[in-house]
């Protein structure tokens, strides 16, 4: 009932909108920009979705096959491996980065001599292009010249070659990602920390709140916005991981993105499932973002 009446209202609204010549002109004036947005942002996505519903190859547009590509994709062990690797990688690395990043941000938020230098210095790993750091770390993990492999086998933690084992490779990739992007997390959280006014802490101290109370009652709630932004960025970023995996292990570490690449660029027959996986990444990323915004209450603009 309510929906129907809402719809009716909606329809009469359109009429009203366009009946008013001034408003109509306004619509005409924003139309070009809307068109550009549609072409630039939505067309590639729609095109990808359409492609994933056909049996197209890289060479020719095919006919409509419904969700066949998606079925094939979910049956492909390579895709499932990519999915599980990606999920493990995202959850573990973002959690570690958040904990470490928050610690670092709290540590460098106070005034001390050389603070600017320290802040710049911790950003160094983040400034490396991911491919470069991936290849660099691969060399360090390598069996003949790799320092990490050497140390690990000398003290007896790991006897087998790190790069030869997929589980060890995934752990290694997580560590490299943590090394590389913790500074980014720290920086975003630091920005959030700096806007918390000092008076709040002073008032809390006067009221007798201890360190933990101040952290959990003041810092965390006031930092929530910054945390959500930082964690969402990192989550989406690591969910799309490609360069790190490929640079470190080529085909040995499958992620969702490497699966797409293999299907669309290397294989001649996996184009459909590859495209389906691309759409899958887009849709799931979108849902993730939606989850952050609606369920966790992330603010997307300054209103409220």
């Amino acid at each position: 009932m309510t929906t129907a009446s809402n719809e009716k209202k909606g329809r009469s609204r359109i009429w009203e909108e366009f009946a008013d010549p001034e408003r109509r002109t306004a619509y005409y004036m924003v139309l070009p920009s809307l068109l550009i947005i549609v072409i630039v942002a939505f067309f590639p996505i729609l095109y990808g979705i359409v492609l994933s519903l056909t049996d197209s190859t890289a060479a020719a547009f095919g006919s409509f096959v419904g969700f066949e590509n998606y079925v094939e994709m979910f049956q492909d062990p390579a895709f499932l491996e990519g999915l599980s690797n990606t999920v493990i990688f995202t959850v573990v690395s973002v959690t570690l980065e958040f904990i470490l990043g928050l610690t670092i941000a709290l540590a460098i938020n106070r005034a001390f001599r050389g603070r600017g230098l320290v802040r710049a210095a911790i950003l160094v790993p983040w400034a490396f292009p991911t491919v470069i750091s991936a290849v660099m770390w691969r060399l360090m993990f390598q069996d003949r010249i790799g320092i990490i492999q050497y140390v690990a086998s000398t003290i007896g933690i790991i006897s087998e070659p790190i790069l030869a084992d997929r589980t060890l490779l995934l752990i290694a990739a997580i560590l490299v990602d943590v090394w590389k992007t913790t500074p980014f997390m720290a920086l975003l959280l630091l920005a959030g920390l700096q806007v918390i006014p000092n008076d709040v802490y002073e008032a809390a101290r006067v009221d007798g709140a201890n360190v933990y109370q101040r952290f959990f009652q003041i810092t965390l709630p006031l930092l929530k916005g910054a945390i959500l932004v930082a964690v969402l960025f990192r989550t989406l970023d690591s969910y799309r991981v490609y360069d790190l995996f490929y640079g470190m292990a080529q085909r040995e570490l499958e992620s969702l993105s490497t699966y797409v690449y293999e299907g669309v660029r290397i294989s001649q027959l996996q184009f459909g499932p590859g495209n389906a996986a691309a759409v899958f990444i887009f849709v799931t990323s979108f849902l993730l973002a939606l989850f952050f915004i609606t369920v966790l209450g992330m603010r997307t603009s300054a209103e409220e």
Partner: protein, 441 residues
């Protein structure tokens, strides 16, 4: 309070209208772009008296550039050849060509093509059939294996240019005669490395990539197995006791400690220095390594190194996986005659010899393998002559070799690591390769 709330509802309805508009507009845009896409096809060929030749980066002596200059001088005024340098990474070069072909032929006329490409491209109709210009009498002057790898259905789609094959390098200063069988080989690798105090017996390319396919194929074939019935066609026959035996030997290189455990992620880059710097008794790699050793790139000296055929299981012939480069012509070229003239020029005896001597490549013409001048400048040619002539065999190249290779690389690597049994690996491959072959029909 109430007016504000109403305003809120209106806001959301208006947003809904917009979203619907977006979708409609999106549909229109989609249709428009599909039209654009359809009209964008076709075309191709260089035109305007200019021929484009594509190949990876030139060698340090710039032999490709010099030969093209020579050719252009001969044809002054009529037409010119331009050298388009492609990525050194073979996979990227392939991807680039494929993208150009898919976009309607591209503007490249003559293609320097990896030995596994002509069949894949020819199956798509992207290469010119050279049968009329390249009769059997002429074909016989070239090496058999790269020729076979250029034949698709009844046509021939490339001319052999330079060739490559897997070789067994050994330490001549540590052992007198190279091993014939895999058993002898393993025994020797273990004892000699122990006696000489060398950390490893053997190094090769075991990673999950094309090179890993090349290595594993040699084990399967030297045990009497194969992937396809007729090298580049026919039903998949990999699920055989012979293939299983081949992969068992392959796995034993790691399991018995003949090669370091890390060999499962070795490519050429990692494996060659192991041998070159004296850390293994044996190495399986390509002919170019010999020139690198002679050129002083490693600790070993040329005289310490010998080359032998890949060992066999008793009663079998030796096999080496074929590599190398061929020359092919784009089907969409505007200047087929000029393109053929250029291919002939690059692959004639004189110019092949020039590039073999100056560039250090192994020429694709049989006569040049016996040429004393080539042999002197490029000793690996003399050393590996029989292997190149008799043992080199193409990979099981078909229309969808790219997909077959992905499957094989994965399974061979998993079998080498011991993650799957050789039996399981060949069973999986029998199934997946058969289904790929079916799609080719």
């Amino acid at each position: 309070m109430t007016p504000n709330k109403r305003e809120g509802i209106e806001m959301t309805t208006r947003r809904k209208i917009n979203r619907r508009d977006f979708l409609k507009l999106g549909g229109a845009g989609l249709a428009g772009a599909a039209l654009l896409g359809a009209s964008g096809c076709g075309g191709g060929g260089g035109g305007s008296g200019n021929l484009i030749f594509s190949m990876g980066p030139d060698d340090p002596n710039k032999t490709i550039t010099k030969l093209i200059d020579k050719f252009n001088k001969q044809n002054k005024g009529e037409f010119q050849v331009t050298y388009r340098e492609m990525p050194a990474d073979t996979g990227q070069y392939f991807d680039k060509l494929r993208t150009e072909f898919q976009a309607g032929g591209g503007d490249i006329d003559v293609i320097g093509a990896d030995v596994i490409w002509p069949i894949q491209f020819a199956a798509q109709g992207w290469l010119q059939d050279l049968s009329d210009n390249f009769p059997e009498s002429e074909q016989q002057k070239f090496l058999q294996a790269p020729l076979e790898a250029s034949i698709y259905e009844d046509g021939i789609f490339a001319v052999p240019w330079f060739t490559d094959a897997g070789l067994l390098y050994y330490r001549q200063d540590l052992l007198d005669t190279p091993p014939k069988t895999w058993e002898e080989f393993k025994e020797m690798a273990l004892t000699v490395s122990q006696e000489a105090g060398i950390p490893n017996g053997f190094a090769f390319q075991g990673s999950n990539y094309e090179g890993g396919v090349c290595n594993a194929l040699e084990y399967i074939r030297t045990h009497g197995g194969d992937v396809l019935e007729n090298v580049t066609s026919g039903p998949v026959i990999i699920d055989s006791p012979e293939s299983v035996a081949g992969l068992e030997t392959y796995r034993s290189m790691v399991a018995d400690g003949v090669a370091p455990e890390a060999v499962v992620n070795y490519t050429e880059t990692e494996s060659e220095p192991v041998f070159g710097d004296g850390e293994s008794v044996f190495l399986r790699t390509w002919p170019g390594m010999y020139g690198d050793i002679q050129g002083g790139a490693y600790k070993l000296k040329g005289e310490q190194v010998g080359v032998a055929p890949i060992p066999v299981a008793p009663g079998n012939e030796s096999f080496s996986t074929l590599g190398g480069w061929n020359m092919a012509i784009n089907a969409a070229t505007d200047m087929p005659d000029e393109a053929w003239e250029f291919v002939q020029f690059m692959t004639n005896e004189e110019n092949l010899k020039y590039r073999a001597i100056e560039g250090g490549y192994i020429p694709g013409r049989s006569s040049l393998l016996n040429d004393p001048e080539v042999d002197e400048a490029n000793p690996i040619v003399g050393l590996a002559k029989e292997i190149l002539l008799d043992n080199a065999t193409s990979r099981p190249v078909t229309q969808f070799y790219g997909d077959m290779s992905l499957e094989m690389a994965e399974q061979f690597n998993a079998a080498l690591k011991g993650d799957v049994s050789p039996q399981q690996a060949v069973k999986t491959l029998q199934e997946s390769l058969s289904s790929i072959m079916e799609q080719a029909e």
